[in-house]
């Protein structure tokens, strides 16, 4: 238990170092653009692939489970929309990003630590925590909502393609289902969750990378810890945020 509190304390102390004014605005801007590209845009492919197939699966499952003639087939579109916007895109895609982006951040910073590159930054008088972690946090917070909105589109598109291809639901019914009782607040809810999750992924992974000591083995362990703890914290915060935002 003491170890848990020590880790939380160290995380908070590191975040104090991270959230300070960047030493050079132009250098920060360049890093931010690099991170947006490497953490966000390079994830577009995997996000599109998973979202489209997941949307297709949800729509097929729903269509096959509607057996009562009293339930209209437009419910398929409605179900796909609700599940994709409320949970699948913000939470499941964030978990996927925790694996892809989190391990990348932790291993990159961890390798810099064990090869003394972080010490070199400190010796020069650079706030290494701010220099390395802050652009990643800002980039994640900016680009993850874009990825999640893109995921929503792809999920719904995948669902529609699956219905048209299998002939289970007509385009008219599917589109009508998507439009039923749509509330803009659900998008706000999804984006809010995404921003929290983006912060968790980048800061927790940055933390585990930054505190790495040792060699290649420890970098691997740091990477694993980053993914596991980011995922666990995302799941816990998902529950808390859902309760807070939907009640």
């Amino acid at each position: 238990m003491i170890k848990v509190f020590t880790t939380i304390g160290n995380y908070v102390l590191l975040m104090q170092k991270v959230f300070s004014r960047p030493q050079k605005g132009r250098i920060f801007w360049n890093q931010l653009m690099t991170e947006i590209n490497s953490l966000g845009l390079e994830s577009l492919g995997i996000v599109a692939f998973i979202s489209a197939f997941m949307g297709a699966v949800v729509s097929i499952q729903t269509a096959y489970n509607i057996t009562s003639p009293l339930i209209p087939m437009s419910m398929v579109g409605f179900t796909v929309r609700q599940s994709v916007i409320l949970e699948f895109s913000p939470t499941v895609i964030s978990l996927i990003l925790a694996g892809k982006v989190g391990s990348r951040i932790a291993s990159e910073i961890g390798t810099m630590r064990v090869t003394e590159q972080i010490d070199a930054l400190e010796i020069m008088g650079v706030n290494s925590a701010n220099y390395l972690i802050f652009p990643k946090i800002v980039a994640s917070i900016l680009i993850n909502p874009v990825l999640i909105v893109f995921s929503m589109w792809m999920g719904i598109l995948g669902g529609w393609v699956a219905m048209v291809a299998t002939g289970l639901v007509s385009t008219n019914d599917f589109v009508q289902g998507i439009r039923i009782d749509f509330q803009g607040y659900t998008i706000f809810y999804a984006i809010t969750k995404t921003i929290f999750f983006a912060f968790i992924i980048s800061s927790v992974s940055g933390f585990y990378g930054y505190i790495t000591r040792g060699g290649a083995l420890e970098v691997g362990q740091a990477s694993t810890k980053a993914v596991v703890f980011s995922s666990v914290i995302i799941i816990l915060f998902n529950l808390v945020l859902t309760q807070l935002l939907l009640t």
Binding site: Q23, K24, I27, T111, M112, T115, E116, Q117, D119, A120, E122, I123, M124, G125, V126, N127
Partner: protein
């Protein structure tokens, strides 16, 4: 001049540095030698502030480094250059970007001026036409020389070298040693080199401090080290087959 006074450093129950006091003089190559695990790397990291000392004081030209706050240390660190054991070049940057990094971070020079400085320091370490190479494309000796170039780019007053010859062949080690010595004399800086290479000791050891089990055990220079009657130091100096044969 850098002064270490009564430095103690403990990791858990392990007392690594025990009351170490030493003066490292300006314009000289000051060597810290000792066996692996003797505490010489910890001493160097305490001197540059990568480790906080438990007690004692470190002063850079009478400026007490130990009591400085983060901002004061940041200012002083612009006067410090350090060569790390593996070079510690930034993997994501090419040679030119690595050497230019401190200039970009701390100066307001124009891009042309910075490039001129980069080319000057690269030429000074006998490296030319390597600006666009990535660290992974360099040999061990070249990496060390790029790291030296980066360390001197900001015209430091203090240069720290942590085992500059590790992993290098004797000839390349000699080149690096002489480069460190030349730079020290040319810029009149205080240089501290951490090593266990006796070739380095005999070629550039203007001042030599021997650390034994966390204590300053002996202090002298490259001339007196061969004639000391200190048993532990003799064991270290003449511990290899080559040096013991030469002694006989």
């Amino acid at each position: 001049m850098i002064e270490a006074r009564n430095i103690n450093k403990t990791f858990g129950d392990h007392h690594v540095l025990k009351d170490v006091s030493c003066i490292f003089e300006k314009g000289k190559t000051n060597l810290i030698i000792g066996q692996s695990g003797s505490g010489k790397t910890v001493l160097m990291k305490c001197l540059v502030g990568l480790f906080e000392v438990d007690s004692g004081m470190v002063a850079y030209d009478d400026r007490n480094f130990t009591t400085m706050n983060f901002e004061q240390r940041k200012t002083l660190r612009k006067e410090i250059g350090m060569l790390f054991q593996g070079g510690a070049l930034f993997d994501s940057m090419n040679v030119e970007e690595n050497v230019m990094f401190p200039l970009n971070m701390f100066t307001k020079e124009l891009p042309g001026e910075k490039l001129e400085r980069v080319n000057f320091v690269l030429k000074r370490v006998n490296l030319e036409n390597v600006n666009k190479l990535m660290p992974s494309e360099l040999s061990g000796g070249m990496r060390k020389r790029v790291a030296i170039a980066r360390a001197i780019a900001m015209k430091p007053q203090y240069l720290f070298c942590d085992e500059p010859n590790s992993g290098l062949d004797p000839l390349t080690s000699g080149v690096i040693d002489h480069l460190i010595r030349e730079i020290t004399e040319e810029y009149e800086i205080t240089t501290i080199v951490n090593t266990h290479d006796m070739n380095s000791v005999l070629s550039i050891g203007d001042s030599v401090a021997y650390i034994y089990k966390g204590q300053l055990w002996w202090k002298g220079d490259k001339e007196t080290i061969l004639h000391t009657d200190n048993a532990e130091l003799n064991e270290f100096v003449f511990g290899t087959e080559l040096t013991s044969r030469l002694k006989r």
